[in-house]
Subunit: 340 residues, 4 copies
């Protein structure tokens, strides 16, 4: 960390900062520049240090040098991490398709969806049982019954499954029914939930919070990793910006950036990221071209009757077309589809 | 809700939408304009309808007309709601000062803080026992011990207390120790937690999520209200923007806007909202002038030794000055300090 | 346009709005809903109407139904517009590569750059002569001399050229030297400049302002089109968001969205959009996969000696690799490179 | 500036950076930390250096230490700058009210407005003659005729005037008619216009661009100051965020922040900043309480007939009320109204 002193600070101000560092077992290395004095902090910097130092009136600013995440960092582990979900590996250089319904509804519809995902070439079946809805008056999921329907559909077609968990109390139950636990964007910084999935022996799909920088997203992953669960997949799903023509702004550049900074696999969710069914295919292809390890796509037999998020769900026909196109782009960028 | 049809839609497309509405027990009222046809939906619109209709390729867009929140709306309840916290009333036209440490640390420091809050003229004592920290390697609070220390300090000086709850499993415990339950910005859309505090018989301080629009913030409040707890206080604490000179951007205009749309009290947290101790006073005065029902301020006997967020904590002397100035501004806008 | 009346409005309030519409030569069509009354405005709505109506205290909101841009809209002109720049056509289904130096510097370096663009398979040569720099103390371009150097380099290798114009007084001069006039992001809403290039008989490359929504961007194009110049190419170059890991956030989804709403060609500038040389290739491939009509790339013989924006410039070797990869992705999405 | 090297860089990489600095007449001072090596740059850093160094693959990042603006900085000039407009001084500790019509329309209406501004206690009369409008089909101002009408109205009531200039070619003309030249938000980074007003001997009101950070806003001021014009007033008018309940987000915290960093006066424009007439008063009071040197308010005799921005214009009665309340808040924070 660098500590930038204000212009016109006194020798006593400087000493106070150096004493603070020394008490903390660190040492300070001064650089006297033309305009300012900067203190380089040497030693094992702890997260609170920045706030402590910035509360000194003579300190103008502090500048972090080391990254705040360690376990998620490629500096610690230079080679890619691959996460196995059922029989599929995510993060080992191929493209993986996760698809299914935003909300599980009837067993018949879920089964039709599962058959479509399988026959189109998809790898993992998704289905929401617990739904985060911005209105308390919206449908909030079939809960346990939904998990059963999803598990049965997955088993019937031989695909592993993924579903969201929202409450630390439900982690165990959801983990019993699915192969991959999803933590949603609204819970990306729900640290007690992250702790709980971190103690679990199931891979975790961690969506980026819509107000999280890439660095903060990696810190969310760090929570899970720090608890011992090393099977984390990152998922970009759109950030909050001023643009209203899309529901969120899918930050495609976060995919190569996160992969550069971290060894964890990164996938994209263009369905939530755009909120518009007609943008899902072009943004899927964009994500694959940018280096994503996979896609997460919402489909529904009858989008106009879906219990949630119909506007961003693809029909089966549109989904099949998307998969064919994603396959071609994947091959063009040397990321062929994973084998099932 | 208004349904905007695409140009060049067919009669059959139109009929499909009208049929959809009829099946849902609603009726459609057509307006054929110069450029487009619009269908006004009459009846009790449900939250999923918009997504269902936008999945029709012939539908260009849907436009909500009614507000998605009901219980939080001033249309339902035109007069202000006042929430009692201990002996203080928030939302009845006066200015209330909530102050204390971001994190509870030693009993001695907490007691010194409590005395300062009381003697300066503050109304509620805050202290964090469970801390949401972006890094898993940061100090995360004294947990139950912190709640005890806070409760004792509050009792000693005769001030009600507030502390954050982050895990649905902790709601009962925290509610036993404090007078006001805080739901933090990172949990503003943690719906299971909102459900839990909604079932509780304690007032709730609901911070705005950093990516929540005012409408979405009111929907978060709706969750708590819908569970039966009518004692909700809203707290603006800064939104995420591109500006990096402050930690967040305190959206002062959200205060009069939320008060116009809702009957709930609205306070401001300029400490987290700015992240800079030297901006806390001017932004406190701004919030009071804009009509806030109160302020939430971080102070610490030794900001440079605080266990969290020292950079935004005020010294006791700066806090006393702020309270004096806030009192004068409160009087200027006819919002004198609440009586203790 | 829809006019949403406040709850509890009087008959007189309603009449005032209807009278206002009638005076403006429009008619109003009322829909009385369960919660609110809405007036659909029939006729040729003018841009000021919304503000006029929202100044009535009894009006809660107005909702636009027609799009504010006409000439740029695909509703007016359903088929794609192709813009010819020299011998290359942009917008007719192929991928076009525009590349060159952010700033023109020496004739030797510019010539080396031109040869590289040509031999790698690029189509248009760029070079900045007038540079918008955020600091007045930065290098601001070689001005006229730069235009000459650029024109000579282009002529030597047989490539058309593009350069930015920033001042309405310079439009004529720049237009004499280059084949494509660029309007930069900081001038996207400089309406006098847009007027001036709109009166010019040269194609215009219009960058999206970093705070412009897609709708506002199309309105910027509308300015140029309204003056008679139909040769407009849109260029996405990143919007301002809270993310600091990249310089801007390249809004890839704006490419398919703009192409859906408008008939104009859309290209992407991943160099400015990311500000990081190591993200330029993945984001170039993403843009092509999402349907961009072309790319605009910064290269430099010695990025570390470039007079501006070295951090986002590619070396010649990296550029050649990018072009090869973009060619493959272009073919995968049925957008082969344009013939030179 | 600090240069952060990547982990695992070689000695040769380090030497290349040091050589680069030496060639530039600077020196490097190394700090070898536990995790990384950092080079402190000593000497007079130039703006391009950061980009140059970040183009070295072995450089992880560069961190500015000195502020990029000099003339605008309080470090160069610690005491407040006061700018005289007609007989009023802005920036010398009092509160100044600038008010008038967004667009000049008829002489009668402008005169009525002028009388209201004067009698209510306002100090400067505004009126737009050249209007930046997002649609080319909107009313764009009365141009020269508008300047005449404004000047006459100002003279009639004895108030100085302010109007926007948008085209470098118009600076001289506008400067002949008004006492204060306004540069609007959309032109905040129109560097040729800034150059032109910088060469002019009239005070300049510089609005913050809606995508400009406070630092970039001060760099815009630096352009004007660098040309020799020292009479710059900054004006916060709202930034672009995801919130749609207001037109922009008035960043009140930028007022005390800009005043801390710079010696220039700072005023606020809550009319454009909120776009909602009912938020103008509370946000005016907030700005004054936060330390603004003045307010810029839109009023109109008949907001529903205004030629632009009616939705944010106050009626005369509402304006008078606002001025009375602003006066009281100004006195509460020791910023009484300026004497006329």
């Amino acid at each position: 960390m660098m500590v930038v002193m204000k212009k016109g600070h006194s020798q006593r101000d400087l000493q106070a900062v150096l004493d603070h560092l020394q008490e903390a077992g660190l040492s300070g290395h001064m650089i006297v520049g033309v305009e300012r004095t900067v203190i380089g902090v040497i030693g094992d910097v702890y997260p609170e240090l920045s706030d402590e130092l910035r509360s000194y009136p003579s300190v103008d600013d502090t500048v972090p040098i080391s990254r705040p995440y360690k376990l998620a960092s490629r500096e610690l582990k230079p080679d890619d991490t691959a996460v196995r979900v059922g029989s599929v590996e995510i993060g080992s250089g191929s493209t993986v398709i996760i698809a299914g319904q935003c909300s599980v509804d009837t067993p018949e519809q879920m089964m039709a969806t599962a058959h479509t995902v399988r026959s189109a070439g998809g790898h993992v079946l998704r289905g929401g049982a617990f739904k985060p809805r911005s209105s308390p008056h919206s449908f909030r999921g079939l809960l346990d019954e939904g998990l059963h329907i999803l598990a049965e559909a997955g088993a019937a077609v031989g695909l592993p499954t993924v579903s969201e968990v929202m409450d630390p109390r439900d982690v165990e139950t959801v983990a019993e029914h699915v192969d991959l636990l999803q933590v949603g964007a609204r819970n990306a910084q729900n640290y007690f939930l992250l702790d709980e999935v971190g103690k679990c022996n199931k891979p975790v799909l961690l969506k980026r919070g819509m107000a999280c920088s890439v660095e903060e997203w990696l810190l969310c992953a760090e929570y899970v990793l720090a608890r011992g669960n090393k099977q984390v997949i990152l998922c970009e799903r759109g950030i909050r910006t001023f643009e209203t023509g899309t529901r969120y702004t899918l930050d495609v550049s976060s995919i190569p950036l996160a992969k550069r900074l971290s060894h964890l696999p990164v996938i994209a969710d263009p369905s939530h990221g755009t909120g518009r069914w007609y943008l899902v295919e072009p943004m899927s292809l964009a994500a694959v071209a940018a280096g994503a390890d996979g896609l997460m796509i919402e489909i529904h037999p009858n989008p106009e009757r879906a219990l949630s998020d119909g506007a961003q769900s693809l029909t089966f026909a549109n989904f099949r077309r998307l998969v064919e196109h994603a396959r071609v782009v994947g091959e063009a960028v040397q990321r062929p589809f994973a084998r099932v």
